[in-house]
Amino acid sequence: MQTQLTKGYSISEEGYYGNFGGAYIPELLYNNVHELAQNYLQITQDPDFKKELDLLLKDYVGRPSPLYFAKKLSKKYNAKIYLKREDLNHTGSHKINNALGQALLAKKLGKQKIIAETGAGQHGVATATACALLGLDCTVFMGQVDIERQAPNVSRMKMLGAKIIAATSGTKTLKDATNEAIRYWINNNDSYYLIGSVVGPHPYPDLVTRFQAIISEEIKEQLLIAEGKKDPDYVLACIGGGSNAAGAFFNFIGNEKVKLIGIEAAGKGLHTDHTAATLQKGSSGIIHGSKTFLMQTNDGQITEPYSISAGLDYPGIGPLHAHLHETGQATYLSASDEEAITAAFELMQEEGIIPALESAHAFAALKKIEFKSSDVVVINLSGRGDKDLDTYLKHFN
């Protein structure tokens, strides 16, 4: 895996992307975070590390994931639409790219105990999988509410040997699971915190971006074969914390020919309080150790977002995206619950693919953009929809 720093993407030594990022952590976590910041580049760029990870990504995850030309969608939307099939990865989403990378990194740092937060359970399952594979202890924090609404993933994690700790503080969802993981980390300094998205204190946003960058690296190679050119006109990806989008964007950032479109979850609509569209409805502040956009009250209390998809209802967004948004290097749209559901059924019926509810948000953007027939559009299909069957069935009639 090789990731070059592209034009337009630079990160300061303290982990700032322009005005966003940094490491806003209490002194109690300083050594842990500092140790990681000091070592992550050296370890992950080591040829032996790369070789080991590459092999796992190929033989265990099944990479490269296909870039599939979606004929019927293309016809319908009058553009050349390709799907980057992260849904075909082992464990069913892009989350495994990061989980394996970080688990391997933790091992190199001599850490045996892994902790992680999870919302929908995809990152939890990916982490539990990586830990089982590499012989690491795994503890996953999950909001009590999410444990109840994502039962199959809870069982998967348990069967894979992970211990699940219910977050019962606050609103008992992803942000609280993250708080609990941070608290546990403070109390258990010997553990490694394997964050699931491009969020958290520096170096996590950069670390996770680099592990996900393989998505856009492969897109370039695959497009060259399919279209005779490396650059698409559009890249579309859904945004929770922003890791699949960061990976899909990474190698195109700063390339003015490529329009990067992130799609946030509008939930019940931007005009309501039941939304997770952080860049549209949030403002700048600190969440989980990072300066970025977040949803908060006028008094700076972090509010609970809402989306039909448990993987998108995070009240923050990775600092890279806050930066790309501020500098206009990427465009951020939003799709409502209803639009996502409609887009999911369309994908099922047109292409025979059941997408994760999160990914369905990216497809909903097809209706919001005016394409030229020559446009090459890549949609990052970040995960498969097995976990969302209950929700889909409720809407299927």
Binding site: P26, E27, L28, Y30, I186, S283, I286, G289, G300, Q301
Partner: protein, 266 residues
């Protein structure tokens, strides 16, 4: 001009007890009752917690007090109003402790100006990094004559510990264990190396030990090493369980400070 905190440590170098209470807990107006009670007790410094929705360095007791305070309608504006109201009633230093997001949303300068106007003496913002402090906060700390207190843990590297202490004013907050607040002290580590380092450094900044201090014996031990100690969760627990604050608060403080001390520490 010296700050109230500096004057306190000059007058009384050792055996200082700092008490932490979340604003708006257990009732919206509780500060107005609790601060006068602390004033009349043998407590030396009053720390007021700014309630935050996501207090990730705090254990369950302070978390729950914050949640309740927010449900009671506490916010920064009201907090400043209440501090202003009680300020004339107490001569003890008042320190605010909170998370950076609350401050940023209020506006950096507006926050420090309001601290000054309300009669706050110092700040503890555990998630504000030193570099950011120097870049965007230090000038207002100076302008509004406030103290800024950094945390140092037993595992903070020596060079960094000295840097944090150099940039602290009022006192330094020594964390007695690598844990969230109010946690049983299974991670209690030896602070003596840091204490020797800081005492030898010539910085002459007072040291208070906090996190996991809950009993008279914890307090006594801390005072053997440092200039005093901070009690948070145990006090909040007391307030939560109390049906008679007028009686229970003075009694609690008295129990903690049972032993009489020679006020000079070596």
């Amino acid at each position: 001009m010296k700050t109230r905190t500096e004057l306190l440590f000059e007058k009384q170098p050792g055996n200082n007890l700092s008490i932490f209470i979340t604003a708006g807990f257990p009732k919206k107006e509780s500060l107005l009752e609790i601060i006068p009670l602390l004033e009349n007790s043998d407590c030396d410094i009053i720390e007021i917690g700014i309630p935050f929705s996501d207090p990730s360095a705090d254990g369950p007791v302070i978390q729950q007090s914050s949640t309740l305070a927010l449900n009671n309608g506490m916010n920064l504006e009201l907090l400043f109003k209440q501090v202003k109201q009680v300020r004339p009633l107490t001569t003890k230093p008042i320190i605010l402790m909170g998370y950076l997001n609350s401050l940023l949303k209020f506006g950096i300068e507006a926050f420090y100006r309001s601290c000054h106007e309300a009669g706050v003496d110092g700040l503890i913002i555990p998630d504000l990094p030193l570099k950011e402090f120097k870049k965007e906060h230090e000038l207002y700390i100076k302008k509004y004559k406030l103290d800024f207190i950094f945390l140092i843990t037993p595992t903070t590297e020596n060079k960094r510990a000295l840097e944090l202490a150099t940039n602290s004013s009022g006192f330094v907050y020594l964390v007695s264990s690598n844990s969230t607040t109010g946690t049983e002290n299974k991670n209690r580590l030896d602070l003596s190396e840091k204490i020797i380092l800081l005492k030898k450094s010539g910085l002459k900044i007072p040291l208070l030990i906090g996190f996991g201090i809950s009993t008279a014996s914890d307090f006594t031990k801390a005072c053997e090493q440092a200039n005093g100690a901070i009690i948070g969760s145990a006090f909040i627990q007391l307030v939560k369980n109390s049906t008679n604050l007028q009686k229970d608060i003075p009694q609690f403080i008295q129990t903690i400070k049972t032993k009489s001390y020679d006020h000079s520490i070596n």
